[in-house]
């Protein structure tokens, strides 16, 4: 998979390395900005109130 990406990047090795770095940073950005904030409430650290299920206060 990574080899396939590498082979399809343009330019010589340096250009490819630079593009790879940019791609990695872009993926990390998307993860931190969109994917992880979505996944984080699925973990139990968010429940700190005592109205679970009662509907008294959201």
């Amino acid at each position: 998979m990574y080899g396939w990406i590498w082979r399809h990047l343009p330019g010589n090795a340096w250009v490819r390395a630079l593009i790879s770095l940019v791609l990695v940073l872009a993926v990390v950005f998307v993860l931190f900005q969109y994917v992880f904030p979505w996944a984080e409430p699925l973990l139990p650290f968010n429940d700190v109130t005592v109205d679970e299920g009662s509907g008294a206060t959201p």
Binding site: M1, P41, D47, V48, V50, S54
Partner: protein, 252 residues
């Protein structure tokens, strides 16, 4: 003569297939491992960075709004003497604006520099920025139960040291015009998430039996779980005009 060796029909060689399979599985495992490490870093570190930034933003906005309102508030606050019970006008005031910070909280037990904004509401989005005031409970200093929830872990770990709270500890809150000093009287108590009585005007399971000006803090328990809640209660033991400095550690 090597070229004379014809590939057996159109079949791919099994060692090539095997190599491809092993490589793909390895890459998937490496990717999954990296993802998990990144996610842990996000939960443990990045949510804290974001929460601190959001809290600083809320505090700055809060102080700006207080500074803008100061000209009217300052003369009124000046004659405020040592520690009379707060004006009884408080309960009649309207609710706080939802989603906005309206006070800052100091807990000396959590450290001299510990300060967090208190926002109106307990949505998960709000709790990422600071502490959340149960919207159905009393206003600061009013008769009733001023109840606040906060994260114990992640999002800045505001209530990380919650179990260290003991009766006698002070929780100091400041709104636009006034410092409120609450003193812990009960807890920490471990209870169930469905135990909504702990934020009642006269909190159930607390040492209080008659109506008064109370404070309740809640967070999750165990530290990284959500099966229980940890609760402490306090009562108002002093107020002071906002123009004066923060109440000292020993004022009762």
């Amino acid at each position: 003569m090597r070229s004379r060796w014809p590939p057996p029909r159109d079949r791919v060689r099994p060692d090539v297939v095997l190599r491809l399979a092993v490589r793909t599985v390895s890459e998937v495992c490496l990717t999954a491992g990296t993802l998990i490490v990144l996610f842990v870093a996000y939960v443990l570190l990045w949510t804290g960075v974001k929460a601190d930034r959001a809290a600083d933003g809320e505090m700055a906005r809060l102080r700006d709004s207080w500074a803008a309102a100061a000209p009217q508030a300052a003369p009124a606050a000046a004659p405020g003497a040592a520690a009379p019970p707060p004006a009884s006008a408080a309960p009649r005031e309207p609710r706080y604006a939802p989603g906005r910070a309206f006070a800052e909280m100091y807990v000396p037990r959590f450290g001299p520099d510990w300060v967090r904004p208190v926002l109106e509401g307990t949505d998960a989005e709000l709790l990422k920025k600071g502490l959340g005031h149960y919207a159905s409970t009393a206003r600061l200093g009013a008769v009733g139960n001023f109840s606040v929830a906060g994260h114990r872990r992640t999002h800045g770990d505001p209530f990380k040291d919650f179990p260290k709270l003991r009766p006698g500890d002070e929780v100091i809150l400041k709104d636009a015009a006034t410092w409120y000093t609450y003193t812990i009287r009960g807890g920490p108590l471990r209870t169930l998430p469905t135990d909504v009585g702990v934020v009642d005007p006269v909190p159930r399971k607390s040492p209080f039996t008659a109506p008064g000006r109370y404070l309740t803090l809640t967070t999750c328990d165990p530290e990284w779980g959500h099966s229980h809640r940890l609760v402490v209660w306090g009562e108002l033991t002093g107020t002071r005009a906002g123009g004066q400095g923060r109440p000292g550690g020993s004022s009762r």
